[in-house]
Symmetry: C2
Subunit: 474 residues, 2 copies
């Protein structure tokens, strides 16, 4: 474990001889921003405005974007891109290793509503007998650059998402029909809808249906005795269609798991259609899993040594806040304001949001009963280069230093091993068959230096493009 | 002239055995409307919301659309499409016949600010010597179906636009660089901007600049001694580009012609760049011209008899409100509430807006000094079939009967005759050389039966598609 003195940072402000971004006269800058806003309005680069949707209309406005690309050296972009198929392989293996997942998540499964609901669905479906041995994964691994005295610049993973990954350009599948399960009143339809349009406009077209998680899933679908999913696009008095793939963009929030939510997720999990992703793969997105993988030797269960080393190189320093020896050390750091300023405390569950940053951590822990501390993990914050740009958010034009986060998308399709549940080997236990495994694009977002959360929906972060050149900074 | 008893209408409600549009359950209808709204939001089928634009953001919402296509029999669509190249030819001839235009518009030129400004610019540029003999025209001819006892169903032109035609899909030109002259704060950028994007994305790309009419034209352009137009995209300290085509989407409102507006239109008119369109062609869009063309034998000045007959067949009954014999008869109709209910009174100037309908006409004339009545024309209102549809406007979901208006776009490029100003023949006076003359697409809009104005911007009208089949109605 890093001791705190190790993580004193080098200065992260970049000093440059070149003028970047170019400094335009106020009038030209304003004209350029008008060009951007109009392009976004005519090309669906928008967010719906909360509370403006009624039966016949809805208002929207441009999503945050940067005016210029932000420097991101090509070698680090390449490193993140190249390791993605290994990450896919790793998370596929995890998703087919319920024993390991249970061991890692058991405290959460016992104490947390979402983890408990998902695990119960998993066990019930296993008990009934799994009827579909294929699973589809669309993952996104998020990275930041990290500068330290001893190691210089590195790229480090801040999050791995296996569920409902937003912000990317998804590609066509060669499947027959798809059901997209969504949240009602989502303001980010410009990210979701193009997936449907892409599928419908594919050659041959993939008929695609959009259904709200919960009541609507239950009201508009029907499970045949052979567990085929029938969906009634026009209501139950009209002929149904069989759905072959279910793509989940809902069901990640504990609040969604009321009775209807639970029953609808169970309904979707138990059927023939290919899930994107399965409940087990969903469980693998929890922060606790990311932290458990960062423990010494944890990766060897899933990957050969050489591959494990490549993956581990991108890990951020991550610690449990449980009562293990390492957990107790981490608790000390978290309670000490001088140490805590280098950390973010994340719930063990979700992929994003609800984080507590820096000096807020000791105070937050005071309000949390000690027996619940294990529901959080501690991650060392990155020390990324601070780079200049202009951000156009729904709230302002910001000219100043920004932080960048690179997301690499992965797409994979796998068949669970027929030996699932038996123990062939202790180290490389399950070997799901990877039918497709590839890098599937990227996203790149930047935010103002002084905002902690990287949220596009809240207007804190902006879509950007990486300028793949070495930093021109001294 | 029709006497009033001739224009008693047959009932225009259509009774059908088929159910159109299909009657969906409320829930399915609502889902369909959500699909439409989301498609519009992701595809730039929007209007900016007035007053929401600031430096960094702007709100917008879907433009009005119909949920289903509206019946429009194929033969009438074909008739309107086929006559477009003749209309192009006619308006090109008018645009190169300043003497005829002056004769028709002289009262307006003397008394009206806009007509006067345009004519002054025309005479000044003629005096200086015209340096560009090519002109580009993008026209739109608007039609409605008209049912009468004696003639059954016919298609009739309600308006002809030569200037700043909106609502269409414009195609690429093979020209070098273009300047698009626009109004500031236009909410309908989703109609304007795609023209620029189309030009920029053409192969080879056509660099396109967007400049506001008035001050910005004067501040950012420069006329060389040889009358080439130089535009400084980045301000006058940066190298300029030469502009070869000017496409006007501003300068049609009298209010725009303050000193800056006048000077900027003069600047644009006098230079080498090809104008789309010229000031003379702009004058040809006035309603007074449409009415003058409807006078007996008027067309023979511009078209051979056979072509004139085809064009005249689509004319609506149009009358002057001046002190000519016909004008005096029309004044009687306009002042008689029983007769006026079949008419619309239009200003002699503009292509659209400011119309007075039916029983409002006598009252409106009471407030207008008699010596100004000649500034209006009288047009018999159409009696179109009332067809069923569902309209989704920014204000409501309307289920009921609608009226349709078909717009046919024409595109033409012509060279003015070297014999301009001489009189070769009394009847076919000017023969500009038509280098390109074609039909350039269509627009189709519908509105609620009880709304008079056909305005998309105000939310009264909706984009629609013609269902090109015979009416299934008895």
């Amino acid at each position: 474990m890093d001791c705190v003195s190790d993580i004193e940072y080098p200065p992260s402000d970049c000093v440059s001889d070149i003028e970047y971004p170019p400094r335009y006269p106020e009038e030209l800058l304003s004209r350029l921003i008008t060009e951007v806003k109009d392009w976004q309005t005519t090309h669906g680069s928008l967010l719906k405005l909360v509370g403006t949707e009624n039966k016949h209309t809805v208002s929207s406005r441009p999503i945050g974007v940067s005016l210029f690309p932000t420097f991101f050296p090509k070698e680090y972009f390449g490193e993140a891109s190249n390791v993605q198929t290994l990450y896919n392989k790793l998370y596929v293996a995890i998703s087919e290793d319920p024993q390991w997942l249970f061991d890692v998540l058991q405290d959460l499964i016992q104490g947390d509503h979402l983890a408990n609901a998902l695990w119960k669905i998993h066990t019930q479906v296993e008990h009934e007998g799994v009827v579909q041995d294929l699973t589809l994964g669309i993952f996104r691994s998020d990275y930041m650059l990290d500068r330290s005295w001893e190691r210089g610049l590195e790229i480090r993973q801040v999050e791995f998402n296996t569920f409902s990954c937003a912000g990317g350009t998804h590609e066509h599948t060669d499947l027959q029909e798809a059901g997209v399960v969504v949240q009602p009143h989502n303001i980010n339809i410009c990210d979701e809808r193009p997936i449907e349009y892409g599928l419908r406009e594919a050659n041959p077209p993939v008929p695609t249906y959009r259904v709200c998680f919960g009541e609507e899933v239950l009201a508009s679908t029907w499970l045949t005795p052979s567990k085929h999913l029938l969906y009634h696009p026009q209501g139950k008095n009209f002929p149904p269609s069989e759905v072959s793939v279910i793509y989940m963009r809902a069901g990640y929030d504990a609040k969604e798991y009321d009775d209807y939510g639970y029953q609808s997720r169970l309904q979707l999990e138990r059927l023939q259609a290919i899930k994107c992703p399965s409940v087990l793969c969903h469980l693998a997105t929890f922060n606790k899993v990311q932290q458990a993988l960062a423990m010494p030797n944890a990766l060897f269960r899933f990957l050969p040594a050489r591959e494990a080393a490549r993956v581990a190189k991108t890990f951020a320093p991550l610690y449990p806040l449980d009562s293990s020896e390492l957990g107790l050390q981490a608790r000390k750091l978290a309670c000490d304001p001088a140490a805590a300023k280098y950390f973010v405390m994340k719930p063990s569950l979700e992929g994003g949001g609800h984080n507590v940053y820096r000096s807020d951590i000791p105070r937050a822990l005071e309000r949390i009963p000690r027996e619940s501390w294990h529901r959080y993990i501690l991650m060392r914050l990155m020390n990324p280069p601070l780079l200049p740009n202009v951000l156009i958010s729904p709230d302002e034009v910001y000219q100043g230093t920004v932080l960048a986060e690179l997301g690499i998308f992965g797409a994979c399709l796998w068949r669970r091993s027929s030996s699932v549940g038996t123990r062939e080997s202790k180290k490389l236990r399950n070997k799901p068959e990877l039918i497709m495994n590839r890098n599937a694009g990227w996203s790149f977002i930047t935010k103002k230096q002084d905002v902690e959360e990287m949220s596009l929906g809240k207007g804190y972060a902006c879509f950007d493009s990486p300028l793949l050149e070495a930093f021109p900074y001294s």
